[in-house]
Symmetry: C2
Subunit: 378 residues, 2 copies
């Protein structure tokens, strides 16, 4: 497997990103990603019970059909808590793309991120869509990846090339963070593209495994978003023998796992205001679920995160979090190892002495800059 | 009922607070509170599964006996995650008080607060105990209340005088916060004293109801402590007819509820780095438990707390929290009212349009000062 730290679209995909005026800064805020042929698609969405309008719409489309041609995504407005107008606006986004591409609106997924509870200025989007389509290109992913960013300070992107079923297959992904990051799911957009030919059930299985091992193991602030969306489109243009299970699916899933874990780490690295990247490994738990529970309890502790920011080896914050997780552990069975705090990357190892299961989660520190960003965000 | 915003010890109680050298600052750090006769006592402790040594010891004493004479409490060191030495040290604290007062060690409750994971300098305490006892007085509560403070910026204290069973009964309380405040229980010490004559079961019932309605409804940072301790001592010296149930118990419990809610609000008001005091009322929920769940999800959201600090009316942070709480609510059934953000006290009202239950919780904002305090705390 060859890894390229840049998004390079697989065969048959094109993209584009422009500024349509949603961001007051005038920055890029509207993205379109298109497959030249219908692509088998797997989706996962936030479990927040007040999802944004585009999430509601996508779920509806996805319930009726698994073949998609395009994703339209905007930043600058989440189109959430916007009532009937919001739902209509999300639909208008898919309709305008469908009209321009000569396809059905049910083939166009929609994603929005930004402020919650403000009506979307939909005309800015619909007016911009024809131009967005005209300039689609394989290299357009470089503007598309920027147009989904909000408080992100860098674009998250990666590509893997690997051999499956006698052919070279490409899997590439872009993502955006950077606050409101917490399981389940990690709060973000992740758009993944592959030219692999994969059966629908294998595609969904691979995505589920991969999201569980990546985006559901990172947390920035423990806050769950209303707009999280992960989309994986597979257009089958690489010419490989179809992946339906067995070794080929394992190879494909491993590549997806790698890509998504890298993107997830980038989300944490670019966590709002973050000055530290923290890896928390919980070992010798009874089950992976238990290990994850303890690791996330530590990762979401403001007191722990402040201590990390202060390069303060206050491991009492870890002890209190382990106990707060509710597992019935004896003090003498808990061992904590804290790596150097002077470095940008901090390693925390917690041993529970009660089994063989382990789990790693990633988080950032809590800094005055996080507060500044979110005190002013609107 | 007459309320005095100061701790005035009821009949038969004495206290004292001194500096024994645990705090590097030289500040007051050792408190003793004593009843002249055995007092019926109700206790509640943290549910953290790695409790501090004094919590382990108190639970042991409390399991064997409900009559206590004294509480010894230190700040500057939590005596938590300190192994066998920690347990022995907690026992030495009770033994030294017992020896000085001529009572049994099992009649002396122990509480410690401060840094976790550092051995206690027990000799500083045992050396100081004789002097601590010699200077006990009714007015000594004024130094005792200060010697339990850590990052608190003011002492929390209150007294109620009321008529029960034909006599004037006094109930007074002192508390300390100010970080690591979260249900269950609110992370703190609360020591309550009354000269009322109350049956053991009535005393325990009153304390449970009261803690549920007060300390379990405040949160500063969602972090659960290892040392939380609430102790209510009733020495029966007021001469009232014993409170065992019925109207008298209601009157007593109402007074306790009032006192504990006031102390709980003081904890929030003095939350680490807090610049705002926020009241979150969730109305029209199906059950109180549901209302409380939603209110705490909002109260513990870093994004919400940052917006409050920034006086930023970003009610999207509230929407996202309601949805993250997991209740199955429709967008159109959610109504949010946000009071003026310019004031020190901010009122948030959330209506769920699905029932008649409601719950109020209190929290503070998240500020750069919280981070500074906890980045440097050790």
């Amino acid at each position: 497997m060859k890894i390229i730290k840049k998004a390079i679209l697989p065969k048959g995909f094109q993209a584009n990103g422009i500024s349509c005026g949603l961001k007051r800064s005038g920055g890029l805020d509207l993205s379109l990603m298109v497959s030249s042929v219908p692509a088998k698609t797997a989706c996962m969405f936030t479990v927040n019970t007040i999802p944004a309008a585009p999430v509601i719409l996508d779920k509806e489309y996805y319930a009726g059909n698994k073949l998609f041609r395009a994703i339209i995504a905007n930043s600058g407005n989440a189109n959430c808590f916007t009532g009937k107008k919001g739902l209509k606006d999300a639909q208008l986004m898919s309709e305008s793309v469908a009209a321009g591409l000569g396809i059905k609106k049910e083939e166009v997924l929609v994603a929005s991120t930004g402020i919650i509870g403000k009506p979307l200025d939909i005309e800015k989007i619909t007016r911009a869509v024809p131009g967005l389509i005209t300039s689609l290109s394989a290299r357009g992913i470089d503007t598309a990846k920027k147009a989904i960013m909000t408080t992100d300070t860098f674009s998250k992107e990666i590509t893997a090339r690997l051999q499956i079923g006698g052919q070279t297959v490409t899997v590439s992904g872009i993502a955006k963070g950077a606050g409101m990051i917490a399981p389940d799911m990690a709060t973000m957009f992740v758009f993944l593209f592959t030219d692999a030919l994969v059966s629908q059930s294998a595609l969904e299985k691979a995505l589920r495994e991969s999201v569980d091992g990546s985006f559901n193991r990172v947390t920035v602030d423990g806050c769950m978003s209303t707009n999280d969306t992960v989309i994986l489109m597979a257009n089958g243009l690489s010419g490989n023998a179809a992946i339906t299970g067995g070794k080929d699916l394992r190879v494909f899933t491993d590549a997806l796992n790698f890509i998504n874990l890298e993107l997830a780490k980038m989300l944490v690295l670019d966590g709002e205001g973050a000055s530290k990247f923290i890896e928390i490994k919980v070992k010798n738990a009874r089950t992976v679920i238990e290990a994850k529970k303890v690791a996330l309890q530590i990762a979401n502790s403001n007191l722990f995160k402040c201590a990390m920011y202060g390069e303060n080896p206050n491991f009492g914050r870890i002890v209190a979090s382990v106990g707060a997780s509710g597992i019935d552990i004896r003090e003498q069975d808990l061992k904590i190892k804290l790596g150097s705090l002077k470095k940008k990357k901090i390693d925390v190892e917690v041993r529970l002495s009660r089994g063989d299961a382990e789990c790693v989660v990633y988080t950032s520190d809590l800094t005055p800059r996080y507060i500044k960003i979110n005190a002013e965000y609107s």
